[in-house]
């Protein structure tokens, strides 16, 4: 028989157990947060001293104090450019097709399954694919173009998913109103769906690029070099024909590979460089994430369905 005394004791026991579990949960959070804080603290302690102006405009060198990340961040920028220009048209196109044009048949299901599967493929396998296909089969060599295409394949699932979600958020009434006025499917997409989903897509693309900028394994596999003391040739020059595409086929390096190279050396001076470069890379990634989140916030505010 449950007296009020037993009930009170039971309730107290429950409360205590709940509190205990809550404390356990907080402890787990704390452990994870401490690990993250230790990581950043270590990066800062090791690397902040090296973050002076010269670091950003010097080439890597055999001497740790004189080594810089110029070729690395320029390389990262150029590779990101190629990646964005390759992944966005294809990813957005695929997303539009899957959301607006596809009928529920085997083809759409096949494409969806593949997109889901590709999202789970380890990044190093994209590097192997690019090595076999782009570097040797198509003869593009170990160049900025190959790197951009490799990373574009890597982030393609992310761009497709982001595009689909952005398009799905557009209410059907808008589409139906346009159809009701006699618009063709492409007109509806181009003039009504795309403008409204543009901010969402942009957010997704920026997040995907933030992921791509930190990828190391596929680029090492295709042969990005780690000691580059030159920059890819400039796209514009003073002589005819004034614009060229040589920079696409030039050898290159990127930030994460430079970090990897420096960390693999036994000299602690280079470890400090690696920490400093790590800070820059994490800063770039955080900036891109913040940009994407701010865009999403602004877009949500302006939309009035």
């Amino acid at each position: 028989m449950m007296t009020s005394r037993t009930l009170a004791r039971l309730a107290a026991r429950h409360r205590h157990r709940d509190l205990l579990f809550e404390a356990l949960g907080l402890l787990v959070m704390l452990v994870v947060m401490l690990a993250l804080a230790a990581l950043f603290a270590h990066l800062a302690i090791d690397g902040l001293a090296r973050l002076q102006g010269g670091f950003f405009v010097d080439y890597p060198s055999r001497h740790a104090e004189r080594a810089g990340i110029l070729s690395a961040w320029v390389g990262s920028l150029l590779v990101m450019l190629v990646t964005a220009l390759s992944a966005v048209p294809i990813g957005v196109g695929a997303g539009i097709y899957l959301e607006e044009y596809a009928r529920k048949g085997w083809l759409a299901a096949l494409i969806e399954i593949n997109v889901g599967n590709l999202a789970g493929v380890p990044s190093v396998l994209y590097g192997l694919l690019a090595l076999g296909l782009f570097v040797y089969h198509l003869g593009l060599g170990e160049s900025v173009l190959t790197a951009g295409l490799t990373l574009a394949m890597l982030i393609l699932p992310l761009v497709i998913v982001a595009t689909r979600e952005a398009i799905r958020a557009v209410p059907t009434e808008i589409r139906e109103a346009a159809y009701g006025l006699g618009a063709s499917r492409w007109q509806v997409v181009r003039d009504h769906v795309l403008p409204y989903s543009m901010p969402g897509m942009l957010t997704g693309v920026i997040l995907a690029l933030a992921r791509a900028i930190g990828e190391t394994a596929p680029l090492i596999t295709i042969g990005a070099l780690t000691f580059i003391a030159f920059l890819p040739p400039a796209p514009v020059s003073a002589e005819m024909p004034f614009v060229n595409a040589d920079w696409l086929f030039s050898p290159f390096t990127v930030m994460p590979i430079q970090i990897f190279n420096w960390i693999s050396r036994p000299d602690p001076g280079f470890h400090a460089n690696a920490a400093a470069a790590g800070l820059v890379l994490v800063g770039m990634t955080l900036a891109m994430n913040a940009c994407a989140i701010w865009l999403r916030y602004r877009a949500r505010k302006r939309i009035r369905w």
Binding site: G120, R185, A217, G278, T285
Partner: protein
């Protein structure tokens, strides 16, 4: 216009086909020279020696050991975090914790590798005397840290999608929050939680940079975490950094290793996908 878009959409299929074709194609050349039996049952992986041996077991042992350690860390932390966030946490705590977890999952893995080599390893060396500079334990621990957001966010999704009325029925019968979480919500979300762990396994197996930096690049058939070893992924990167003539057997060996990796992750991804469909359909 529709056909252009269809072409773009079929790129996903084309890429998958290309991966399979390239991996199988180059491995075909590899297996023309190395017997499948030696590959699967051999105990040494020494492609660079004068007398090369091609047994994948050392690489598999490295991959399995690192992934196991990572899971031992990430599964408890991740599931506890998910239970806490979904059943107990106040909104304020959630606002702090979720961005932090997203931060972890967005960080470049080289930075984690730096952390493993220059912070975790020296710290472990104080606890375990005689630990070599490159070891699987420190790599495994950091891979585990990196995977916690995967497990926690997928598990939390699974737990969130358990209908409220199940919880309310439990509370109505006088259960505490702890009892409800453990006896009602977690069993109901179990297939989603298991899916999260399976997908995390796939991620751990495919991790490259942390193990390449912190676990070393010496293939070693051992499950002892205090030893140096190489994983499948670290081997691929190590060879790709060197100079191997295109078409040589050493070059082809990375494709064979890549094929094994592809099959492993495909298996776990399919398991995870199937499990997720099961929990989504239940509601």
């Amino acid at each position: 216009m529709a056909s252009l878009l269809l072409l773009a959409a079929s790129s996903a299929v084309l890429i998958t086909v290309a991966i399979v074709v390239i991996l199988v194609g180059e491995s075909w050349g590899f297996f023309a020279q190395v017997s499948l039996r030696e590959f699967l049952t051999g105990h040494e992986w020494t492609p660079m020696f004068a007398e090369p041996r091609y047994g994948i077991a050392p690489l598999l042992a490295g991959t399995v050991t690192v992934s196991l350690i990572a899971l031992l860390v990430a599964v408890p932390l991740g599931i506890l975090t998910a239970i806490y966030l979904s059943e107990f946490a106040r909104p304020r705590v959630r606002e702090v914790v979720k961005p932090m977890l997203e931060l972890i999952s967005g960080m470049p893995t080289v930075v984690f590798g730096y952390f493993a080599l220059l912070f975790v390893t020296p710290w472990l060396q104080r606890v375990i005397p005689g630990l070599p500079g490159y070891n699987m334990l420190s790599a495994g621990l950091v891979v585990g840290l990196m995977i916690v957001p995967y497990i926690s966010s997928l598990s939390e999704d699974a737990m969130r999608s358990v209908p409220m009325h199940l919880r309310e029925a439990s509370y109505g019968l006088g259960a505490s929050r702890f009892q409800t979480a453990l006896r009602v919500v977690v069993p109901a979300a179990m297939s989603g939680i298991v899916a999260a762990c399976v997908l995390a396994i796939s991620r751990a197996i495919g991790e490259t940079m942390i193990v390449a930096i912190a676990a070393g690049q010496q293939p070693n058939l051992s499950f002892d975490p205090t030893e140096t070893a190489a994983t499948i992924t670290a081997y691929i990167v190590q060879v790709a950094m060197g100079d191997l003539p295109h078409g040589s057997i050493g070059y082809r060996s990375i494709f064979a290793a890549g094929l094994v990796l592809f099959v492993l992750t495909l298996f776990f991804n399919i398991c995870g996908y199937w499990l997720r469909r099961r929990y989504r359909e239940a509601y």
